[in-house]
């Protein structure tokens, strides 16, 4: 079973397809759950705290906006853990944790730099594309050990 990072990291379709093929999908909600279940200074615990941008310094320089570093404090650990990745080139919806274009670029860059198997696909818009989409993802996931 491989750990597969999906991008966008909130994707229902990608996370579901990965788990169907008996792999572990690395999604941002798992990181959020860890944060909100850990007792801290804030009550109730928050998913993003002033500590987030500090942790994000591991992935982005100090002059990079805190929004990017805060997001990277959630997405960065997923990239480190990933054995493979499935990336949708144009997600079509970018809001919340994927609402920052620079973070999206940085995430894709870090994934490529890690030199892990990456599948880049587009969301399907008709039946023919949907069959290709599912087939390509299945073949990619079957090839992972």
């Amino acid at each position: 079973m491989a750990k597969v990072m999906v991008y966008p990291p909130t994707s229902l379709i990608l996370a579901d397809l990965v788990e169907r093929m008996d792999h572990e999908a690395l999604v941002v909600s798992k990181e959020v759950r860890k944060k909100i279940n850990t007792p801290g200074l804030e009550s109730p615990p928050l998913n993003i705290t002033p500590d987030g941008p500090k942790k994000g310094l591991k992935y982005a320089a100090v002059d990079v906006p805190s929004g990017v570093r805060g997001r990277m404090s959630l997405i960065g650990p997923l990239i480190e853990e990933a054995d493979a990745a499935i990336v949708v080139k144009d997600g079509g919806y970018y809001i919340g944790c994927t609402g920052c274009a620079r973070t999206n670029e940085l995430t894709k860059f870090l994934l490529r730099r890690k030199e892990i198997p990456i599948l880049e696909v587009d969301y399907p818009s008709d039946e023919v594309e949907a069959k290709r989409f599912v087939h390509e993802i299945r073949q990619f996931l079957e090839g992972l050990t």
Partner: protein
């Protein structure tokens, strides 16, 4: 450890959120359920949630999709009932992807049957402005 899952039905699935909720109630497990317009949210101990997800998925294997959720249902940090209304932050992604789910169901069914996808058909391209100009000229000249 507790976990929360979104269970979303495809638009072409015959399974309703209420059917899924009834199935979970029947199981008698100690699980919180919240019925929503797109499916159900289930929250409980991870082993129980995993088993429940397997049972629900069996209702329509290619029409039911599951993903993790960070916050539990009704959490005051996310629930719009506590935040004075408005869409929940993650709703936009589910709204966007739920429109594609019927196509994914077709893809999954096709894979199940062992059909090979067609690659000879070219991918749809955006209309070139020059082509559009020619079409307009042709139509109105």
């Amino acid at each position: 450890m507790r976990m929360t899952k979104f269970v979303v039905t495809s638009q072409n699935s015959d399974v309703l959120p209420s059917d899924m909720a009834m199935k979970i109630y029947e199981s008698g497990r100690n699980i919180n359920i919240k019925e929503t317009c797109f499916g159900v949210m289930i929250d409980g101990e991870d082993s129980e949630v995993e088993e429940t997800v397997k049972e629900i998925r069996a209702l329509d294997p290619n029409g039911i999709f599951v993903k993790d959720r960070g916050f539990p249902p009704g959490d005051p940090r996310r629930c719009r009932g506590h935040r004075g209304g408005g869409a929940r932050p993650g709703l936009y992604s589910i709204e966007y992807e739920s429109k594609i789910l019927p196509l994914i169901s077709i893809g999954l069914t096709s894979e199940e049957r062992g059909e090979k996808p067609v690659y000879s058909i070219e991918k749809k391209k955006w209309l070139n402005p020059d082509e559009l100009e020619k079409l307009i000229e042709h139509e109105f000249s």
